[in-house]
Amino acid sequence: MAKKTIRTIPQERTPIPVQAPAKRARNFLEVSLGYRVEDALNESERCLMCPEAACTLGCPVAIDIPGFIQKIIEKDYRGAYDVIGQSNLLPAICGRVCPQEDQCEGVCPVGDTLEPVAIGRLERWIGDLAIEKGWATRPHIEPNGFRVGIVGSGPAGIACAADMAKAGCDVTIYEAFHKPGGVLRYGIPQFRLPDAVIDAEIDNLTKLGVRIECNTLVGRLFTIEQMIDELGYHTVFIGTGAGSPRFMDIPGEFLNGVLSANELLTRCNLMHAGEFPTYDTPLHLGRKVAVIGAGNTAMDAMRMSLRLGAEKVYCIYRRTKAESPARAEEIEHAEEEGVDFHWLTAPVEILGDENGNTRGMRCVRMELGEPDDSGRRRPVVIDGSEYDFDVDMVVFAIGTSANPIIGHTSKIALNERGFIGVDETLATSMAGVYAGGDIVTGGATVILAMGAGRKAARAMRDYLGIRDSAVVYGDADDHDDVALFGMRPTEKNFVRLQLT
């Protein structure tokens, strides 16, 4: 077969079937329906199979992207799943929620001339197929007797747990909520990430032997110190998420009808407030909802409000669309569904009625000035631009600060912003205790949290003295003759050393 070039591949990026905006804005079903086989095969042909795959380097967990696309082309779908499974336990989730345009797809050379290869959509397709067929990556696991405790069952904890379980450790994850999944469960709505997908991916984790203990608030039920001293964990990973919603300290924030995006989303996603009174948790939804912020969480809050029946949903953001931190696809979907975007607008006060309920919002117009420390142009208030408009619900989606529970209950050193301090291996100030994800970086993305979980897992294996044969001896397939102390690198040499 002739080598593919930019001229010979299909020129158009294969579109993904989606529910029509008018229809989906009023239901909770997933917006994007996913590729069909023919879509996936067509899109796979667009990959140039670059030898130095930029996409793999652009991926926080370094998935062998050309590798799995090649398997799709060969119609070895199970093989494609196994290639992804080496780096990523949750393809169905990451295919849906990763900001691919800033990662793999952002560096895809095809994107220099045409639209980049739709790597995320292909990954999702393989992930969904695996769930449908019941595939799971179940490597041969040799128990090594080490016990690993993980705090938080969100993406960082899940990724760390999977790697430690594969290395042979006995892994337990603790979750404060009554259902596992962390932000995947309480934060990301059904129409973007269905519960069934989370359940299936978590099921894969338990198949690796990982135990998940819900209803356990670490720090309060027992401390990190107790996990090591009393519960017998040899190493601990903290992946609790950032989770303390920020408000703006403007008048009116205590009014009824004002809430954080976290509260709105948790009530709806985890507690099913949309199905009140079948489910007991209520949500007092406004008719006109203003969401402050333009990140992914803000988009989720707006689109959730529409689906719950809000007549009008506004997005209030002090910069422009170009500076918005949300995934491109999410903004696009929100626009299609009818969200009214007020770019270059900032709230100065939330107005209440005599009963303490929200009746409106006072905003000012902004313009972009000189670039600030983040390199983005700083928004400046336009004098005399103040105006009021009617809303009866205001949702803050302007990010999170550090959750204080672990900091209050352990001696682990925090950084100046209150997040957990770590070194370059993600080790905290306490021996054997590692941390990663939003509780270290502040609010970020699912895939970055997963990347942090995996990075910590590498350091935790080093800490425990679990030798990674690929690292110690190089890749086994390339070096048939490598043998140290009479042991072949592919053997579980660590375990053998212990036995002899």
């Binding site: 009554h178 408000f247 509260e263 949500l283």
Partner: protein, 306 residues
Amino acid sequence: MGQNSELEHNEKNKPGSGTRPESGAQTFKIVAREDFSDTTFLLEILHPMLARAARPGQFVIVMPSEVGERIPLTLADFDREAGTITLVIQATGKTTKDMQQNLAVGSSFFSVVGPMGAPSDIRDQRKVICVGGGLGVAPVFPQARAFKEKGAYVIGVVGFRSQSMAFWQAKFENVCDEFLICTDDGSAGLKGLVTEGIKLAIAKHSDIDEVVAIGPPIMMQACAETTRPHAIKTTVSLNPIMVDGTGMCGGCRVKVGDRMKFACVDGPDFDGHAVDFNDLVNRLHRFADEEKAAMAKWSETCRARV
């Protein structure tokens, strides 16, 4: 944290290294129940780890069933020997009435998580008044006991609408150096509100270090106003509407000294003289319509069942 001495309290619940922690068997079984009146009842739940970790002033969040709400309830007691925690519940809304009807000894909660919140600040106070109003009588008990164990002189003041609603008098008398019961109708003890009891105690003792008041917001506010002229430190325990109880949703934000605090992680105990009670009361009503609707639907299905 200085908790280690207390943690050795119950050796048999201490998981040795290499053995699995006991939280694995998550059943949250109800092992005892007592009905104080036709609205107030007590449940004792088996949860050895929680009983071992609990401190006065902390709360738990319970879910009666998978479709239930998450309800924050301040711990009324905990027994490290027996491995149980005690909750006193007032059947006022749909979920609590449902719990009153259906939770018998032997049945289980779907979920119990905790202890949550910062423990009460029990240091070297020499003389304290522990005030409980109505349902708040239950959660003030662990504090009264802890103060007593620390060697403080404890004055207990509890208030009920009438004698028929009263509970735990003997329990309080055990840990209090002085104990006073107030009833609205005078059917027991002093006729009047708990604030009358506080005034009496303050008149008698000039050296009170702290007043701890737990009960409905209006009662806590009244207690704070009673002590304000005397500049006696007054701690109140706030129970606003919560979802997660871990500081994640901000639904429980309260205004304390014009600053925003999250009751679930910064509290639930706050300086009663700094709390904005009007704001608290307003925010407690934010689901009034939904509560009414749920109650109406529940009563309907109940009638249908009969």
